[in-house]
Symmetry: C2
Subunit: 288 residues, 2 copies
């Protein structure tokens, strides 16, 4: 499906000539997208037929098909190799911010493990009570979003960004509750403490954080979110979009698992909103 993933996966199995092509591809992507097969062959110092075979090897029908796929991937997939935005003009800043966000989504999509999502959704959908923890602006937003998505589905859920409250909630939690925590850095020691305590008490823990980090190590189920951030300090982190996407995916999965309850609850909420607002129409958004 995605040229990039294939390129990196199969990399080791490439022959000398194919390696050269791959190097050009990864090194000068823009060129590769524009170039004809001959130009590409010349630059890689191989013959055109080798390029064609290379395309076939990558699961494409022909060079044209390959270029199309390459272009598709390039649109979102490889911007992270690109430099910063050109200027501080609104149009450029908007492009930069949005491209980075799309990138983050692209990358998280590739790195998400369906089995882990399944496991996490399973725990959440069967939980008596869900505690969503996160601190420090970014992660507290994620925790709130968990609450905001899940309560609509009939889940019992509370979010907290207060370390002390988190610890108390955890201590008071019952065995069939679930603790889901978010940490962008993976080094939220207070969250680690909550996870440890929860695990001691046989409470399931789910972490949205960097793989291999202290927070990840302390959690039972880890949804790894490992995106390289640009180093423009003036820009908000695009990783937020990835975290948010994970929240949405989990919430959707929980909704499908508890479909009946979700439907009833959503309908209830909608009904109240319609009754409350004057002239609200059918396409009323649940939660302004």
């Amino acid at each position: 499906m995605d040229i990039f993933a294939i390129l990196q996966e199969e990399r080791s199995q490439f022959s000398t000539a194919e390696q050269k092509i791959a190097d050009i591809l990864l090194g000068d992507f823009d060129f590769a997208v524009k170039a004809s097969i001959i130009e590409l062959a010349e630059k890689a110092e191989v013959s055109p037929p080798t390029v064609t075979r290379f395309c076939r090897r990558l699961g494409c029908q022909n060079f044209a098909d390959f270029k199309v796929r390459l272009a598709k991937s390039a649109f979102v997939g490889l911007r992270y190799l690109n430099p910063e935005a050109k200027s501080t003009e609104p149009a450029d800043v908007a492009e930069d911010v949005i491209t980075k966000a799309q990138n983050a989504l692209f990358l998280i999509h590739r790195s998400l493990d369906p089995l882990i999502l399944e496991k996490a959704a399973d725990r959440l959908s069967r939980a008596d009570m869900i505690y969503a923890f996160g601190s420090g602006g970014n992660s507290s937003m994620i925790a709130s979003e968990f609450q905001n998505r899940l309560f609509r589905l009939g889940c019992r859920v509370t979010a907290s960004s207060d370390h002390n409250m988190q610890l108390m909630f955890t201590a008071a939690a019952h065995s069939n509750d679930v603790l889901i925590g978010s940490s962008f850095s993976g080094r939220n020691q207070e969250l680690v403490r909550c996870f440890r305590l929860a695990n001691e008490n046989g409470i399931s823990t789910i972490a949205l954080t960097q793989s291999g980090s202290p927070v990840a190590d302390a959690a039972e189920i880890v949804i790894g979110i490992d995106l390289a951030e640009g180093d423009n300090i003036y820009r908000p982190t695009s990783t937020r979009f990835a975290f948010l996407a994970v929240v949405d995916v989990l919430a959707s999965l929980v909704a499908y698992r508890n479909r009946k309850l979700s439907t009833v609850t959503l309908r209830h909420i909608k009904q109240q909103l319609v009754e409350h607002r004057d002239g609200a129409d059918d396409r009323q958004i649940l939660g302004d």
Copy 2:
């Protein structure tokens, strides 16, 4: 830059044959991306040269270049014509959620007006105090994010999701303050009331909402966010991603405008985080 936008803008100026090509393009996109110039010409019932001319007209160098651009656009741009996800399997749900989010970003990118962004950023960067208002889960998240992004840049800002507090804040605001409000539906009457009051008192108002809605009508500067939502009630709205992107764009613009203050403030915050956390490294994220 984007084939789609051009296609729709220039649509009226197309000749008969060009219209036919455009119709094929819009009607069967997947085919158009795969097809050769001859296949495309046949399907549109025109001659190959006409297709080449059409490509040139759209600002492409040749047919190959055109296809590349088409493919780039297709990756994100036309998914909104696609039906719902195939199943409730984690992989499919993830793809659906993330694709929709990318779409929302794509669409908001196209519809953002740099001049309006400029104007909004200008007001925000010169404001003595910023009030970020939003209610009902989605918009309150946006308001919080405004606060969360802007305070780091040295802005004086507060967020509120409480209608009463919003009204009191507005009543108490000074003339050089700015009120920025978010409403997904555009029908948040309480926000409308705040905007009206603010305008009466000569306070600048910025709205992130649907164009032409009551909220939009009440605001001085309107950043229109008009995305069609899918009607899968189990899914969180992907429009959130668009709103969030707008927050980030505005915050970035404000950062560049008040670069000195932003730099100093960000450094201060970082310093405190580093001192507080044990073993925190240089790549510490500002706000976990």
